[in-house]
């Protein structure tokens, strides 16, 4: 069989198999609208919190007012019993509490340090940090005003009565709105591309195995590889051409870098999937393996969870999956707008995955439709006891 035979047979199989078509084309389409849905508003809004005011002073009221002025936060009430606040957190009516201790005003007036406390529901990182950030900002602003006021009282000229000797300006780059969807969805899309392709390939190749037919021989398998790579490439263009634009996520990539990296990624996924497919004996096995592995793989990519926090061995092993380089590279090109030169490392790793996978396929791919290099199990074989 020729390369062309393998290519054509793969495409006609994909288009004729409802299950494969669903996975390889419809799933990407469906998920691309479904996945961004929770993050439509991009930022955490209406973080409900309670103030526990044990001081009941003008200063404590001033601080509560300042914290509540933050657009992200929503004050649910002011109480003077910490147990009320605790119960509210247990019922998840609020996600955090601002506690102003007794003597807050007195300590401030005496020029002492007068700490307050923010307690969040430990389980929710985003809302916790929103409450903490806004409270810190309000407390700092109030403290700064207080210091300037005091220094003026001490007789310092106004230009020297500054709150702190230096200022820190924090500038978010690449995702200036710091949107959550903008952060997570572009990476999930890469994961989606890889997993749907691998599962779709498993479905097709598994069916060939079951029915002892399909392309055979090295040339034909190269055609199969190219056919699946083309499918992955088309899906990548849809994701990074249409979805990012439609969802209005940051996108700054140059067209040619994007096309080039998409091709490299598609080839790597197809080769990796073909090598993996040598394991498949049945049509359904791909989904069984690949669906539950997606979440661990995503957290190993070094993106939602810093690679610096991974155990050293995993920090190396994670590069074996195309998704790791893919996520890093596509985020660089699309969201950060870097030149192709900045994703050379990822590109080389993907090419390495492609070559090694193809070598495995070259060695083990079936040479004839009936005699395979690996034992084949028919569907239903062994599924039922001899009645």
């Amino acid at each position: 069989m020729t390369v062309r035979d393998g290519f054509v047979q793969t495409w006609s199989e994909v288009l004729g198999d409802k299950g494969a078509f669903l996975l390889l084309f419809i799933a990407v389409l469906l998920y691309s609208f479904f996945y961004p849905l929770p993050y439509k508003h991009e930022t955490v809004e209406q973080v409900a919190f309670l103030a526990v005011d044990l001081d009941r002073s003008p200063a404590s009221r001033d601080l509560i007012r300042r914290v509540n002025a933050a657009p992200q936060l929503e004050l649910q009430g002011v109480v003077d019993d910490i147990r009320v606040a605790q119960a509210a957190i247990w019922r998840e009516e609020v996600v955090g509490v601002l506690v102003i201790p007794d003597g807050f005003n007195r300590r401030l007036a005496a020029g002492e340090q007068s700490p307050v406390q923010v307690s969040g529901h430990g389980g929710y990182l985003l809302t916790n940090s929103a409450l903490l950030t806004e409270t810190t900002a309000a407390a700092q602003a109030m403290g700064a005003e207080l210091k300037v006021f005091r220094r003026q009282l001490e007789g310092l000229p106004p230009q020297q009565a500054i709150a702190s000797p230096l200022a820190l300006e924090v500038m978010p780059l690449y995702n200036p709105r710091e949107g959550y969807g903008s952060y997570v969805v572009p990476a999930v899309l890469v994961m989606l591309l890889q997993q749907t392709l691998l599962v779709g390939m498993a479905l097709i190749v598994g069916t060939w195995r079951e029915e002892q037919r399909g392309p055979h021989g090295r040339r034909a398998y190269f055609g199969v590889f190219l056919a699946f790579a083309l499918i992955a490439f088309l899906n990548a263009l849809y994701c990074f051409g249409f979805v990012l634009w439609y969802q209005d996520y940051p996108r700054a990539g140059g067209l040619f870098s994007l096309l080039g990296f998409s091709a490299i990624f598609a080839l790597a996924c197809a080769a990796f999937g073909l090598a993996l497919s040598l394991l498949w004996r049945r049509r359904e096995q791909g989904l069984q393996l690949l669906l539950p592995t997606a979440i661990p793989l995503f957290f190993l990519s070094g993106y939602p969870w810093p690679a610096e926090a991974l155990p050293p061995a995993l920090d190396v092993l994670r590069w074996l999956a195309p998704s790791t380089s893919g996520i890093q590279g596509f985020i660089g090109l699309n969201q950060m707008g870097v030149a192709f030169g900045a994703v050379i490392r990822e590109s080389l790793l993907l090419i390495g995955i492609t070559l090694v996978s193809l070598a495995i396929v070259w060695r083990f791919c079936p040479r004839t439709p009936s005699r395979l290099d690996l034992p084949v199990q028919r569907p239903g074989q062994g599924a039922s006891p001899p009645a």
């Binding site: 299950g19 469906l30 998920y31 996945y35 849905l37 929770p38 993050y39 508003h41 601080l63 998840e92 401030l108 020029g111 340090q113 007068s114 700490p115 307050v116 406390q117 307690s119 969040g120 529901h121 430990g122 990182l125 985003l126 940090s129 403290g143 005091r150 020297q160 500054i162 702190s164 000797p165 230096l166 820190l168 300006e169 500038m171 780059l173 710091e178 959550y180 952060y183 479905l203 940051p250 359904e284 096995q285 539950p292 997606a294 661990p296 957290f299 190993l300 969870w305 810093p306 610096e308 991974l310 890093q328 900045a342 490392r345 199990q377 239903g380 599924a383 039922s384 006891p385 009645a387």
Partner: protein, 391 residues
């Protein structure tokens, strides 16, 4: 041959798994491996600091001091210090560093003159997790530096200043949980992700166990072995799996709470009951999926669509209250949405057991409703031969 009934079905399923190594792997080996992988992923006792670059265009004693303070912060490590802006950009773009601290030329002069110089911190906000940690630590380091400068300035002016340190930060904000623990909640991710992965494994297992019989046309034999009752046939098939996944999940709970010291602040028993319901709910939903479409492959696709984005919708990473209504409705249809608050409330927050009743009730509904619907559908249409063999 064995008497038809419950144990005959159990024995039949067991014989299948002994014969079919790949099915046995997907059912027993894979979840075990994934559980271990998750624990390993979040196991690092001392995460290395995230790399930043200091663009030091001042090159003074003070700028070096600030650099040292930043490097000393627990979550940050200064990977590079350079006066050349081009190098800073290159390191950012190749993602060797996630942020650049820019100390401008003339920084020390302005500091000494009291002209309040500005230090810029540019961080890669696309890497949100990294950014949050960096911003916190860099802010802290700069504040420490600022306090030190103030102290020396005030002491130089000869003021008797017992409150110098206090005066530098009039209102410090302490961040604590109400529940008197001080653990790193990010580690808790392993505990939050495991149920999401488990849900997929559970549904797949139920779909595979029932779907296999439909695909291979052995459904009638399965029913015969059970003695003719659909309920017996289904329960006997799924119960051993339920026991295995329950034991596995309790093992995970014990390992994370005792082994990795995330102590259970609330009721262990509520968590154990909740886990039993969560496991049963996953299997019930798998049964419903396969009874609904009566096609092994399609039921797996349905499972994928339902479970793959579940973690995103369940409100743990991104709060439910900030989602659009459509997403909230979908979230309400996922057992995970009830399990994760239960886990937070009982494991971390130490709530009294009574607070968990509503959530346990919701989980119980996700066991009962899909189970009853699935059994009804299966009885009605599952055993008609025209439903078999669809791929």
């Amino acid at each position: 041959m064995q008497q038809p009934g419950f144990f005959a079905v159990v024995a039949r399923e067991w014989r299948h798994l002994l014969r079919d190594r790949s099915d046995a792997f997907f059912v027993f080996g894979l979840p075990l491996l994934l559980g271990l992988l998750l624990v390993w992923t979040f196991a690092s006792a001392t995460p290395r600091g995230l790399p930043v670059l200091v663009l030091d265009q001042d090159g003074s004693h003070e700028s070096r001091q600030l650099t040292r303070l930043i490097d000393a912060a627990p979550g940050v490590s200064v990977a590079q210090r350079t006066p050349i802006a081009g190098q800073a950009w290159e390191a950012l773009e190749t993602r060797q560093v996630y942020g650049v601290v820019h100390i401008p030329r003339g920084f020390t002069d302005e500091l000494v003159a009291g002209r309040r110089p500005t230090v810029q911190f540019q961080h890669n906000a696309q890497y949100a997790t990294h950014s949050a940690q960096l911003r916190r630590d860099v802010q802290m380091a700069v504040a420490t530096f600022s306090t030190a400068v103030e102290l020396t300035a005030e002491q130089r002016q000869g003021r008797p200043n017992p409150y110098a340190l206090d005066a530098a930060q009039p209102i410090p904000v302490a961040s604590e949980t109400l529940f008197n623990e001080s653990l790193d909640y990010q580690r808790f991710l392993a505990a939050a992700l495991w149920p999401a992965v488990l849900q997929m494994v559970l549904m797949i297992t139920a779909v595979a166990a029932v779907g296999r019989e439909l695909r291979d046309g052995t459904a009638q034999r399965w029913l015969d072995v059970a003695g003719g009752g659909v309920t017996t046939a289904v329960v006997a098939k799924l119960l051993p799996y339920a026991v295995f996944y329950f034991v596995l999940s309790v093992g995970m709970l014990l390992w994370l709470s005792l082994g990795r010291s995330i102590p259970v602040a609330g009721s262990v028993w509520v968590l154990v009951v909740g886990l039993a319901l969560l496991v049963a709910a996953g299997l019930s939903l798998g049964l419903l999926a396969v009874a609904l479409v009566r096609n092994y492959r399609m039921a797996l696709s349905v499972t994928a669509f339902y479970t793959a984005p579940a973690f995103a919708f369940a409100g743990h990473a991104f709060p439910l209250a900030s989602m659009p209504v459509g997403a909230q409705v979908w979230a309400a249809l996922l057992p995970l949405t009830y399990w994760l608050p239960l886990q937070n409330q009982q494991w971390l927050a130490g709530a009294p057991a009574s607070y968990a009743l509503g959530l346990l009730g919701a989980l119980a509904l996700y066991v009962l409703i899909p189970l009853v619907l699935g059994l009804l559908l299966l009885r009605r249409r599952g055993f008609s031969p025209e439903a078999w063999g669809a791929r």
